[in-house]
């Protein structure tokens, strides 16, 4: 392996080059800079562990967004209060006043809104509030949720027409894996065959790749390896996210 993986103290070590992160922040930039007649909502959806929240987090930092993460118990009021708290505004008493407060702040500040774990509230009336906020502000809004989110949103009228882009999260590529190795295992060279193995066993999950890489880094530290390949790693276990098999 060349020493391209051995980048210590990279001046700007960010998650930006990871596929999903790059797609997400680019789509939000387009939503912010769109011309007036285009809709402004973006949906990012995909299985858990594929780096959606990482993408949302980077986008929030990069584009200075308001970020809320939904919980399954949330009502319309809970959603509005959470957004207002994120904006640092004292919530008014009624739902429609709060909706107006949120819309006004979005319009004035020009900052986008990110709603993570949207699938928790997609079956509830809180979804209407999201639409009301969009109608009231025409701000760029990013909805993040699980694989079923687009089909669940279909149940709500007038949602599909307001969507600028649907972004299906992509499984982690081998390039993503090598970028993650650069971020998390600076100082330890990981050979291509080991990286390929990690990538294969992780089934596209950025989270699992990160966990495996961290295990490799820790193991390398203990054993004093400068570089690791598949042979050095041997029969040590990988993290696959599956429940342990019973051996009787």
């Amino acid at each position: 392996m060349t020493n391209q993986n051995k980048v210590v103290n990279l001046p700007t070590a960010t998650v930006a080059p990871i596929t999903n992160v790059a797609m997400c922040s680019a789509a939000m930039t387009r939503a912010i800079e769109r011309s007036g007649h285009l809709p402004g909502m973006v949906t990012l959806y995909g299985p858990s562990g594929w780096g959606k929240s990482t993408a949302a987090g980077y986008t929030a930092n990069k584009l200075h967004c308001y970020y809320v993460e939904c919980k399954s118990s949330w009502t319309r009021k809970a959603l509005l209060i959470a957004i207002l708290k994120e904006m640092g505004i004292q919530p008014a008493k009624t739902l429609y006043e709060m909706t107006d407060q949120v819309s006004e702040q979005l319009v004035l500040s020009g900052r986008p809104l990110i709603i993570d774990e949207m699938d928790h509230i997609v079956d509830k009336k809180a979804t209407e509030i999201v639409r009301d906020i969009y109608e009231g502000s025409h701000a760029a809004i990013l909805l993040v949720g699980e694989e079923q989110l687009p089909s669940k949103l279909k149940a709500w009228e007038r949602f599909h027409g307001r969507m600028l882009e649907w972004i299906p999260a992509q499984p982690a590529s081998i390039d993503d894996a090598s970028h993650l190795a650069r971020l998390y295992c600076g100082g330890v060279e990981i050979s291509t065959d080991l990286l390929a193995k990690v990538h294969e066993l992780s089934h596209g999950s950025v989270r699992r790749i990160a966990v495996n890489l961290d295990m490799i880094r820790a193991e390398a530290g203990k054993a004093g390896w400068m570089g690791v390949d598949l042979a050095t790693w041997g029969t040590r276990a990988f993290y696959t996210g599956e429940a342990p098999k019973r051996r009787v």
């Binding site: 070590a13 960010t14 987090g57 708290k85 994120e86 640092g88 020009g110 530290g221």
Partner: protein, 212 residues
């Protein structure tokens, strides 16, 4: 003796006194009045007039305010009026006296936001996830900030870190952000006097019963 320059007060005093200070207060008054003179803002906020002038001139250069044409009455120019032309919402724009945007504090803001998104993290996790190209966050920053936030009860240590017998062999400390302790969008501040001040609540949160 020459008059000593009045220094900026520590934030926990500036925000809790009878007439609080700071650009947020001035911006609030500007948004309320829309058209105003320096004197009007002074009357509303009781902040030192030259402080107000510095901020207003900065806002004018940055294009948030517009100066009205000077009016002459009874042979002399009247007080200058400004109009609010670019209202950006509740958060006071942060500008220098010549109207350049202030980006100081963005890293802390990014760390504070990312902690909440990650939930559980180690120091390198947070440094990587909170970094952007414009405002990279280094691990030293993160460590320092996490140490104070843990003391102040925002973070909990899930697995304590352990040093190893050789460099790179230890265990990394894992932190968890307590979701109920997310008090608002503004990151808690570490003051020079080594206190943690939460600007969302307006109180000193560490040490308990500190200098508030």
């Amino acid at each position: 003796m020459a008059a000593t320059k009045t220094k900026r007060k520590p934030v926990h005093i500036a925000t809790s006194q009878r007439y609080p200070e700071g650009s947020q207060i001035m911006w609030g008054a500007i948004r309320l009045l829309r058209t105003f003179t320096l004197h009007d803002i002074e009357g509303k906020t009781r902040i030192n007039k030259s402080t107000i002038r510095t901020y207003v001139l900065g806002l004018e250069s940055a294009g948030y305010l517009e100066r009205q044409r000077p009016v002459k009455a009874q042979g002399r120019y009247q007080k200058t009026h400004w109009n609010l032309v670019n209202d950006t919402g509740v958060d006071a724009p942060r500008v220098t006296r010549d109207g350049k945007p202030v980006t100081q504090g963005r890293r802390r803001e990014q760390m504070w936001r990312t902690m909440r998104i990650l939930g559980e993290f180690t120091i390198p996790d947070l440094a990587i996830n909170a970094s952007t190209e414009e405002h990279p966050v280094n691990e030293g920053d993160v460590k320092h900030y996490c140490m104070y936030l843990t003391r102040a009860g925002y973070l909990q240590i899930v697995t304590p870190g352990k040093p190893g017998n050789r460099p790179g062999t230890g265990t990394r400390q894992r932190y968890r952000m307590l979701k109920t302790r997310y008090t608002g969008p503004q990151p808690p501040m570490i003051q020079r006097v080594h206190q943690v001040f939460d600007p969302n609540l307006g109180v000193v949160v560490w040490p308990k019963g500190g200098d508030a």
